[in-house]
């Protein structure tokens, strides 16, 4: 359980205290990753299924390392090599996997709401590893963790999210978590990629990159998805890069020296970030990857440790 929650599907459901419960535990989990033997027996005998309907290397591997560090058994199940190609429905797939008695089902799906739907039909805990343009809760939590580690606190800090806000589940999870920890949010991107009414989430909207990043304590640069390029939302990568990409010159002129740059990966080098910035002193992208494992360990431990799962009862 994370606070009142049996699942980890959307940070919109989570309170400040519930978010902090995960982040505080992740500090201890990160210490485990630095030990000579990076394995603790706490989830021994528990099993976790990675159910990925969308391509992912980073998130899937991160959950896999997290599960294995806690000694859980892990099954990787990818849609392309499965009965989904034979026409099985999502709920049938989930129920069949559940019959194998996992303690946690980690789901990535292209359709927003898929993890919630599955959670209603299975007894085990469900963790979303990203669903459509809805949320990517473990990414939101690891972004918060990284900012707490780098900035000390999010209280009173300014965080700018730049890119395709409309289609970004990362942006949504960040927006549902960072303000709860006291951060002030700025959103920036092409007008076609800013959802109407997003100010209601407590963020200010900027169409000028300089205005958004000047004075910011942290910047989350979103990935421009290739499938969007060439569609009417943006004319092309060169124009996107010119107006909303960060290069060394802009970074040197506009950013506070202490400003940290996050990116959920994989980076389109030369589009949203130039290589000098992606590898430069502001970048904490590789810290995010390491912190992702610690945060996912905390999520799995809280959901699979402790209580006997109902599936076993």
């Amino acid at each position: 359980m994370i606070g009142r929650h049996k699942h980890c599907i959307a940070l919109a459901d989570y309170s400040r205290e519930e978010i902090l419960e995960v982040l505080d535990l992740a500090v201890s989990m990160k210490e485990v990753l630095r030990r000579p033997i990076k394995k603790v027996p706490s989830l021994r005998g528990r099993s976790i299924v990675n159910l990925f309907f969308e391509a992912s290397t980073r998130t899937r591997s991160s959950f896999e390392i997290a599960a294995k560090t806690l000694s859980a058994d892990l099954l990787n199940w990818t849609a392309s090599a499965s009965s989904v190609t034979k026409g099985e429905t999502l709920i049938d797939t989930a129920r069949n996997l559940e019959a194998m008695r996992p303690d946690v089902l980690v789901i990535r799906h292209a359709a927003g709401g898929a993890p919630r739907l599955v959670a209603e039909h299975v007894g085990c805990a469900v963790v979303s590893a990203g669903d459509g343009a809805h949320e990517h809760p473990s990414q939101g939590l690891l972004d918060c963790f990284t900012l707490r580690e780098k900035l000390g606190t999010l209280e009173g800090k300014t965080v700018a999210i730049v890119g395709d806000i409309s289609h970004s589940r990362v942006a949504r999870s960040d927006l549902h978590s960072m303000p709860k920890l006291g951060a002030k949010m700025r959103l920036c991107g092409p007008p076609t990629m800013i959802p109407a009414g997003v100010e209601a989430l407590g963020a200010t909207v900027h169409y000028d990159l300089r205005e958004a990043v000047e004075g910011a304590d942290a910047i989350v640069m979103l990935r421009i998805q290739h499938e969007r390029i060439g569609d009417p939302l943006i004319p092309g990568t060169r124009e996107y890069s010119k107006f909303w990409g960060l290069n060394a010159k802009k970074a040197a002129e506009w950013l506070k020296p202490s400003c940290v740059i996050l990116h959920p990966g994989p980076v389109n080098r030369g589009v949203e970030l130039s290589p000098e910035v992606a590898d430069g002193p502001h970048s904490v992208i590789l810290d995010q990857v390491q912190n992702g494992v610690a945060v996912r360990m905390a999520i799995l431990y809280l959901l699979a440790g402790g209580t006997e799962s109902e599936a076993k009862a």
């Binding site: 359980m1 535990l25 500090v27 201890s28 989990m29 210490e31 485990v32 030990r35 000579p36 033997i37 394995k39 603790v40 027996p41 706490s42 806690l70 431990y301 809280l302 440790g305 402790g306 209580t307 006997e308």
Partner: protein, 178 residues
């Protein structure tokens, strides 16, 4: 048990450990590991005692055994995990494992498993302030300040206050006898 008695017990444990360490030629490779949370404070005091006797304070670490517990499935919620910090190599060291109360032995079992995941110590000794009996595993203290005969439901509390030694106490609250 009051503060003066506790102080006397801590000194005696410190003296016994120092003697045994010197006897075993382990005076220089001794390191202390306190089990969170009750053992951490006692470990700090033992370290000062040992520093006086051995001439140099041995290195000190803390261990949180929550990830190594054997009763995760019976707990209502996953237990809170505190920091583990072993700032020295375990390899080849004589480890003095420290806890405030020795009861079932399950905490010590978990601590031993955790320690060997950090390296292979030369040997491990166990020091506790109070041995209250009631062991469920074949584990014994090498150094025990006091041995109390307690019934199963009794609650033995050790209070050790940094700086405020006058408030130190060991309190035994009788449980309901069945």
């Amino acid at each position: 048990m009051n503060a003066a008695e506790i102080e006397r017990l801590v000194r005696r444990i410190g003296k016994d450990v120092a003697e045994r360490a010197q006897g075993a030629g382990a005076g220089h490779d001794l390191a202390i590991v306190g089990i969170r949370r009750g053992g951490v404070h006692l470990a700090q005091r033992l370290r000062r005692e040992l520093g006086r006797t051995l001439g140099a304070e041995p290195p000190l670490g803390t261990l949180d055994i929550a990830l190594y517990r054997d009763d995760l499935a019976n707990q209502g919620a996953a237990p809170v995990i505190g920091p583990t910090d072993i700032p020295f190599p375990i390899q080849g060291k004589t480890i003095l494992l420290v806890d405030d109360v020795l009861y079932t032995g399950r905490t010590v079992r978990a601590a031993l498993d955790e320690i060997v995941d950090f390296g292979r110590p030369r040997r491990v000794w166990l020091a506790v302030l109070v041995d209250r009996g009631g062991r469920e595993l074949p584990i014994a203290a090498d150094f025990a300040g006091a041995r109390l005969e307690c019934a199963d439901g009794d609650d033995v509390q050790v209070q050790l206050v940094e700086g405020g030694a006058a408030e130190d106490a060991v309190i035994v609250k009788p449980g309901r006898r069945s």
